[in-house]
Structure formats: C-alpha cells, structure tokens
Amino acid sequence: MTDLVDLQAPAPARRTPRSLTLSVGLVLVGLHLFVALLTLFWTPYDPTAMTGGRLEPPSWAHWAGTDRLGRDLFTQIMIGSRIALTVGAGAVAIAAAIGVTLGVLAAFATRTLDDVLAATFDILIAFPTLLLAMLVVAATDTASLFSAILALGIAISAIVARLTRILAKRVLAMDYITAARTAGSSWPSIVFRHVLPNIWPTLSVNFALQFGIAIIAEASLSYLGLGAPPPNASWGRLLQEAQGTVYTAPFGAVAPGIALVSLVIGMNLLADGLRDVGDPTRRRSR
Amino acid sequence: MSLLRIENLTIRTGGQALVKDMSLVIEPGARVGLIGESGSGKSLTALAAIGLLPPGLKPEGSILLDGVQVIGAPEEKLKALRGRTAAFVFQEPLTALDPLMKIGRQVAEPIARRHRRDGRSAGRQEIVAEVRHYLERVALPDIDRIMNAYPFQISGGQRQRVAIAMALACRPKLLIADEPTTALDVTTQAEILELLSTLVREEGMALLFISHDLPVVAKVAEEVTVLRRGQVVEQGPVRSVFGSPQHEYTKMLVDAAAAFDRALGAQQ
C-alpha cells in the first residue's frame, strides 16, 4: 500500500553544485601540492648550490632570482611548499587526534568534569598560538621540523577540542541518538557512526582554516629562528634572510611572500568551498 | 466598510508563489477561521494583513485594513494601523514575550503607546492601573506576583494570557490569533479558547483565528476559509463547510477530524 498523496516529497537531491570558491581554492592548493610533490624528484637547481650571482633579480635562468649566497630562490620556494604542506598537514593531524578525542570525551563528561575541561580549553585558547608553540619548542630543546609540527599541533588542539565538544553535545541531544540507543547501539558505535560523521562537515572546514594558521605560525617561528634550521627552506626563514636587503633586492621577500599568501588564501577558499558543498542536506534544489 | 478585505493576494518568493490569488473578507465583529496544514500559507496571509511579511516575500493584490491599502504602504502608515486596528497573538508564548522584561512592563508598553498615539500623556499610576485591568480581563490569578515576574517564571498558559492581554491593551478592532493554543495543554487550551470567545464578544472585536485543528476552529469561528498550498479551497459558514464539505481536500480533512472525534465516543 503506497500512499500517493504522502509521496509528494521535495524534489530529490541534485548533483553537487559548482562552488567558485571551492574551485579556486582547489587550484591554489593543488598547485602547491603539485610543486611540493615535484620537489621529491626534481628541482631546477640544487638548493644549496651557488649557481648564480648574489641577489640577482628574476631572470630566465633564475625565475625568482637568487639569494644573498647566490642560491636559486625559486628552488628554495618550491621546497618551501613541501615544508609548509608538511607542517600544515602534520599540525592539523596532531591537533585533530588530540582535540577531537578530548572534545568527544568532554561532551560525554558529567557536569563538573565538563566544566573543568571547557575551562581548560578556553584557557589554552587564550594563549597566543605562537607563544604556546614557542614554549613547546623550548621544552623539547631541539629546533627541528618535527618539534615545530608537534608544538603547533598541541597549540591548535585546544580550539579543535572546544569546537568538537560543542558540536558533539549538540548531536548527542538529537533524537536519532536516543533512537540509536534504543536500537541497541553501544556508545562507541554511536560516536563513530553518528557523532563523528555529523560533526565532520563543520570540523573539516575548521581544519582547513587551522591548516592556514599553522603554516603562518610555522613561518613566524622560522622567521624568529625557532623553526627548522637550514637547509630546510621554510618560507619564514627566507623572509628573515631577505629582510636585510629588502630595499636593494625586494624580490627576495616578495617571492616567498607570494607563495605564503597564495597557499593560505587557497586553504581559506577551500574551507569556504567545503562548507558550501559538504553536507548532503545542502545539495537540495530550491 | 469591511474591517479586512483581502483581494487576489499573491505572495511570491523567488519564482514560487506561496500564496496564490487569495481572497478573504472580515466584517467588524465577525469571527473568521483560517484553516490549513503546513505550507498552506495561512500564517503568511495573516502577516501580510498587517504588513509584517519577512523581507524577500513580495505581496501582490489588495489588502484593505480598515480602508487603508497595506500592500506598498509606507512604514509610518502601517505602524498607525498596527495595534489600533489589528493586534496579533502568536503561537509560541515563550518567544512572544521578551524574556528579559518583567510582565508588568511588557504589558505597559502597548498601553503607553496607545496613549501617546491618542495624544495624551498618561502618568505611571494610570498605566499601572490599566495593566492590572487587562491582566484581570484575561483571568490571571495573583496579579501582583505576575506583574513582577519574568516570562520564564510563569506557565505557558499564563504567558499566552499575557500575550492576549497585550493584544487587548491595544484596543484593536481586529484580533489576529495565529495558532494561539497549539503549544498548550488540552485543558489550558480549552480555557484560552473560552477566554478568547468571551473577550471578542464583550469588546466587540473581530477575530481572525488561524489553526490546523478543525474542532478548535469550530469552537471559536462562525465562518471558515480552507487553504491548501496557498490557495483558497473552500469558504463559508463553519456548519456548512464542516457539515457538507464540497471540495475533495476539505472532505478529506473533515473525515480525518471526524474519525478521531468518533473514537472519543458520544459527546457528554
């Protein structure tokens, strides 16, 4: 017995709508990704070799010119992409692992424990990310790419935890969670099948934003000399080196600057685009 | 002159017509019911009548409220109409009242506004006395306590009574009630319906009562308009529309309501 009148549902889902922000974001990030992967096999020059004169402006031989030791700047910028993406991905992965776990636990916690956790997250968030990262780097006592990633991951995890806690609480209040319990599902099963998938759209947008923040933070750390030491060619370090000669050879700062800005903007656009597109309920023809 | 005359009202948003070619007349003192399910456009029609449609919804056609054209009217003209000519009671008493303002003060607002409009300035004593008067009219117990209470400190039924008091305080010619009892318990609903009927009669007001609940409408209205997906499907006196519905849709609604009614057994 099918009910014809009852079946006048809204029109079925349309295909994923094209989002301009998503497309542009994907292109920018994709470009950096491609370049980063490329550096694993090939770079125009050896980054440590002095292949040109000092502080040369851009030319056909050296697309971004050379640095103060005559090394090809474009090669260093390309490798910088790899560093930036590694840092971004690593920091976000660590922040996600710590933050989501703590956030979900907090969502289940009893009133007092929840208050304590929420306050803890808020206090950690109040610390400037950079300061927190510097603290962690100082604590691990070695400046390396890994310690920078770890530091940033820990610093960002508090924001992720707070967001996860609020999103998870909202989901846990929904009737479909009660229905899942009535159906016999265990709490772990409910978390993985219902809570995480429903908070993922908002979380993933946040991750994309944190990615951009992590990259800038790492650039800042390297600029201050606290990031990975040479020969790791972080854009931050390149900026710091170019600082002294910025009036005579501006391209030394402009080139890494463009690289940094383009990747971060790309990630932000990606984040916006994901939000437009991510949810099955948004794919509705209206 | 009719109090409310809606002619060929169409309300569009984007490309869609949410209300199509709707016509309705309310004479002074008349009690009219507007019946529809979700998506029927009944609430939109009511909002359009006092020029309170949300932005993005464009009304076409003619709405004459006490002889004044509402569609396209400037805000000052509409403000003059609201309250004096028509007052609104909403569905959800919890959100209809300002949660941060004491009841006494909230009821005082429309009273003070009315005095200003009439060109008189009323002293505080006078306004407080009127607030008490209206709270008494809606049969609220313990008036002193309620005047000093916040909305969350009183029950849903009491909040709805306050909302009705505020609407009454405007001394409107037309009271528009949009599902005023849907969020209330059955016993409270019965009391509020009784109150509405009495007040409307005693004050000589007209009533536009919007609901999806057929027996509830039958209790308060003399005439009824049935809306479906923005279009008028049937109109007429309650007894004939419910007793011998002409349109398929009306028949279906009446049959459904009658089925539940039958299950309740003979009326006592």
Partner: protein, 248 residues
Amino acid sequence: MTLISVDSVAFGYSRKEPVLHDVSFTVKKGVNLGLVGESGSGKSTILKLLLGLERPSSGVIRFEGQPMNLNDREFMRRYRRAVQAVFQDPYSSLDPRQKVEAIIAEPLRALKIPGDHRAAIEQALADVGLPVDAISRYPHEFSGGQRQRIALARAIVARPQLVLADEAVSALDLSTRIRIVDLLKDLSKAITILLVSHDLGVVAALCEEIIILEKGRIVEAGRTEDILARPQHPYTRKLLASVPRMPA
C-alpha cells in the same frame, strides 16, 4: 500475557523533585495501551524508564517476569530486541548523514540479529508503505509523514513485540496523522503498541486500554471505551470536557 509490568515505580531527577509517584501498570501482549497526560504528568519519564534510558528511583520494571537490569548486557539485548521506539520529531529522529538503508539496518546490526538484513529492510519498508528505492536516499528527501514511516520501519525491522510511540503523530499534519494512525492500527496486528500522547482523540483511535496521568500519578486506568463513556476521576472528566469536538 504480560509483556512488561511496572510495579510501584517512582522517579525523580533529584530527591526534592519527584516526577513519578508510585506508578503501576502492565503492558499486555496484543492490547494497545495509551498513556495520556499533559505536561508535567510524567508520561515522558515513564517512556524513558521503559526504554532503559533511566533507572527508577524505587520500584521494579519487569520484562518477561525478570526485573530490568540496565547493566546486564544479555538482558538488555533481549529487551531491546523485543521493545523498540518511535519518537515525536521526524526531523530529529533520523541521522541526516545516513542513507535510509543504514538507518533502518541499525537495530539489526546493533542487536546482532542473524538472517538476511536486506530482505528484512525491504519487508519493513513494504510494511510501512514506502517504496523499496527509498533505501538509497537521505532523510531530507522525504516529508514529515514519510520520515515517520522510516522511523517506524526502523522500529519494526527487528520484529519486536512492543513499540513505544512517543507522541509519534503529534508533529504531523491532520491528513498525515490519520494515515499514520491507520498504519499503526495495521501494524498492531502483529505488534503491541504503547502510545504516549496528550491527544486523547489519537489515543482513543488506536488503543484498547488507557492510563490517565496527572502530576506523576495514575488517576484512572482501564478500557478506553469505559473510561470515555463513564469517566470517574475529576481530572479525567476535565480532560474529556476540554477536548474540542466537531460540531454535531
């Protein structure tokens, strides 16, 4: 045959504010039971207790003669296999990110029920009057009434003995409401239904027995037609007198 017996159950979130006082009743197989009350009556609390979401402060709930023990996993598995639920809000009771197939399959999976899950799901969809192609669609593609049907399909897919319906039609339009009530009547040939509702008309249409609740106590209980014809308690009378009736 008694499915569930509730014996002198009391409940309160804190000691000072009891929500239920000394409530006792039985749910019999094949006899649809209606729990009627207004806000504050305790009907939602009784439902939570029957769903094993809370423990009574005192008193015992028995299933198949055995006292309900939320910590006994095997007992709860048997209990949940026999007792399922449908909730009031069709827009919040289905996981928006799951396809209908996964939604309906959940009890089968969680309770580890053997057999062909796909066939069971298709049968459940047919029983509630939805087309089979619904399984690959998402909840937002359906109307309120259809969503309730999906929720019902989820409730019956494991072939429970009892379905607890919490105001299951209250959020629906009149025309949809009557159709879902008819569906519930149809399903009650095989499954017993306990309907919690404030709407006496709906309860009267579906349930052979009624319990009237006021402020956490049972004030009257018995066969629906008896209570409707000869209400004894003042509250029951007031309730009946308050229900708006169609003009004669």
